[in-house]
């Protein structure tokens, strides 16, 4: 049995092997598999989706339809640091729009774009569930809460140069 696919490493297959006994069928592993696969390159290429399809044992179209339903699966490459600013009601009431405008200016990109150096991607996010500490944003897997222009500026500066 192959332990690696076209693009997915052994790490993926080892991680999945551990999860298999926790579900009554393999299809239920599609979401965990996509999360795991995305860890490898930060996004899900056509080849990655095919590897996942082969692993699960379904037509690649079925993986594509699932992956494209959820906003957290990146079907296009994203920057090293993915900033997702929540602009939903609670954050919007406390100034998220200004933060978004500021971030666009500071990074010199529009929301939805990636900086030319590939360091930052900026997105608008729906409610993050951090409403009592609004405004909030996600920076990769981390939440940054009680955000204001100063702390946003500091965060971007800090992550501009060195490792994200």
């Amino acid at each position: 049995m192959a332990t690696t696919g076209k693009v997915l490493s052994e790490k993926f297959y080892t991680a999945m092997k551990k999860l298999e006994p926790r579900y009554p069928n393999k299809k239920a592993l599609i979401l965990p598999a996509l999360h795991e696969a995305q860890k490898e390159h930060g996004w899900l290429s056509k080849e990655t989706l095919e590897d996942v399809a082969n692993y699960i044992g379904v037509h690649p179209a079925q993986i594509r339809e699932v992956a494209s339903f959820y906003t957290m699966y990146n079907l296009k490459p994203v920057g090293k640091m993915h900033l997702k600013i929540c602009t939903n009601v609670a954050c919007c009431l406390r100034g998220a729009d200004e933060l978004m405008e500021y971030a666009e200016k500071k990074l010199a990109i529009k929301c939805g774009e990636t900086t030319p150096d590939g360091r930052f991607t900026l997105s608008e996010e729906e409610c993050l569930g951090a409403c009592t500490t609004a405004p909030a944003m996600m920076a990769n897997d981390d939440y940054i809460e009680n955000l204001d222009i100063n702390s946003l500026s500091d965060f971007i500066e800090k992550n501009k140069g060195g490792q994200a």
């Binding site: 037509h59 690649p60 179209a61 079925q62 339809e65 494209s68 339903f69």
Partner: protein
């Protein structure tokens, strides 16, 4: 049987039947888009609203099963408003291209819009548009026309057994497509066009050839294999334009395969022999019949019937050979390797059978035995009757006579000294017996083409004693 009331009429129902089915029995048509009796119920299109007593909200008839004593209204003001709302939503992004759309005239969206929608439009925003992908030779996709009913997705998943048509993205941006525009792989792709309630998925084979409302319709049976799928031949001006499946829950349910769907093309092929031939030259029926009789005179003749012929044709041939050619032998041919009904098995999990002709059971019923090439050399002449679908046997006889449908492009016609052109399945009535032993009727959709004649007529000409033999 339990009863419920629909629009004041009391109707009986079987437990588990939904309100669409029960209403139909009461003579009430409930408009639908996503509902299809052969597919799972998803209640997505929100067109089949009905009002059920004691339920505050409108219910979708497709997902509501009838219950004892249930009182249903399908025509209340509330229902009308609900349906009009759905129609408006469906048309927001639907292009106004009916004049150039092939579905026009047989389009559920058009019909329901006329019946339940408004003549005015409030929507003034820009319409949603998509870039279309090539889905291969069978289906033409126009996503702008799609109303997201997902019948196609469910057909692929539940009937064709391949989830190649999927919904990607979500919400207002849902695109129904194959992955990266791959060609459809299923051999049942034509059904996608049949079940699509709009002109989003149309048949490339039929596009721009005829407007739907001009077509005449004849209920018949597919001759593509021994399944005997019920079909409708659609034609106009003595030309067949399309085959679509006809519902028969015992045979093909609602579906048919692409092979059967496009099978009719050979009957209209420009290389089809439509005049009698004698040594590859056109000739008259008179000369031809005389020449055949002369050639067979006093010969031990091998008669072969294709299992693509009707029961009536085979029976007439059997009678004819017994009466006029005693000592001759009658055998059948059709699909190489499938000589008996025991060998005829399902070719896939859907509809197709391994016998590629329709009436193997008919030949067996008449006691006709399979062609045995080992006895071929006992005969100095062979007469081959074919409907055009059966695979012609390789014969080495000095004299070969072909009766039926022959195509020059099959490179077989030159081997026959005589060809007497007969009728294709679209041009005749008759009975065929399918793999279940069910007798079903072919119906003539169009008149004989060229100078071709029915098998019965040809046999009568051959039998006519007045046609003198030997006088040149």
């Amino acid at each position: 049987m339990p009863k419920c009331t629909i629009d004041g009429k009391e109707v009986e129902f079987k437990p588990g039947e939904n309100l669409i089915t029960v209403a139909k029995r009461a003579g009430v048509d409930i408009p639908v888009f996503c509902y299809h009796p052969g597919l799972t119920v998803v209640a997505q299109c929100r067109m089949c609203y009905v009002e059920v007593e004691k339920m505050p909200k409108l219910q979708t008839a497709c997902s509501t099963n009838a219950a004892e004593g249930m009182v249903v209204k399908t025509n209340s003001e509330n229902v009308k408003k609900g349906r009009a709302g759905t129609m408006e939503f469906l048309l927001l992004n639907h292009p106004l291209d009916c004049p150039i759309c092939d579905k026009s005239g047989e389009c559920d969206l058009q019909d329901n819009s006329y019946g339940h929608g408004s003549a005015y439009m409030r929507h003034s925003e820009e319409r949603r548009t998509y870039v279309d992908v090539d889905m291969g030779p069978v289906i033409e996709k126009n996503m702008n026309r799609c109303i997201h009913c997902t019948r196609c997705i469910r057909f692929g998943d539940e009937i064709a057994g391949i989830r190649e048509m999927v919904a990607v993205k979500r919400g207002n941006n849902v695109d129904i497509t194959t992955i990266d525009g791959e060609a459809l792989k299923t051999e049942y792709a034509g059904n996608y066009a049949d079940i699509c309630p709009t002109g989003s998925l149309t048949l490339r084979d039929f596009r721009f050839r005829k407007r739907a409302w001009m077509l005449k319709k004849t209920a018949s049976i597919c001759e593509g294999c021994s399944k005997g799928c019920n079909i409708e031949l659609q034609h106009e001006g003595n030309v067949v334009y399309r085959t679509i499946p006809r519902e028969n829950l015992e045979v093909n349910k609602y579906w048919m395969c692409d092979e059967g769907r496009f099978n009719y093309h050979y009957t209209q092929d420009e290389t089809r022999v439509l005049e009698p031939r004698w040594n590859n030259e056109k000739t008259s029926w008179e000369d031809s019949i005389l020449a055949v009789k002369t050639a067979l005179e006093g010969k031990k003749v091998l008669f072969l019937v294709g299992t693509d012929l009707t029961l009536e044709e085979m029976s007439a041939i059997r009678e004819f050979t017994g009466l006029y050619y005693p000592g001759s032998v009658l055998q059948h041919f059709g699909t190489p390797g499938i000589e008996t009904s025991a060998q005829d098995q399902p070719a896939d999990k859907i509809l197709k059978m391994t016998s590629k002709t329709s009436n193997l059971r008919g030949a067996e019923k008449l006691g006709i035995v399979p062609h045995n090439p080992r006895v071929d050399h006992d005969f100095s002449a062979a007469v081959v009757f074919t409907g055009g679908r059966a695979v012609l046997p390789e014969l080495g006889h000095a004299i070969q006579v072909g009766v039926g449908v022959f195509l020059d492009k099959d490179h077989q016609t030159a081997k026959y000294q005589h060809i007497l052109p007969g009728l294709a399945y679209t041009e005749k009535d008759g009975t065929i017996i399918n793999h279940q032993g069910k007798e079903q009727k072919l119906k003539r959709a169009i008149l004989p083409r060229g100078r071709s004649k029915s098998t019965a007529e040809i046999l009568m000409l051959l039998a006519n004693k007045k046609t003198k033999v030997g006088v040149a």
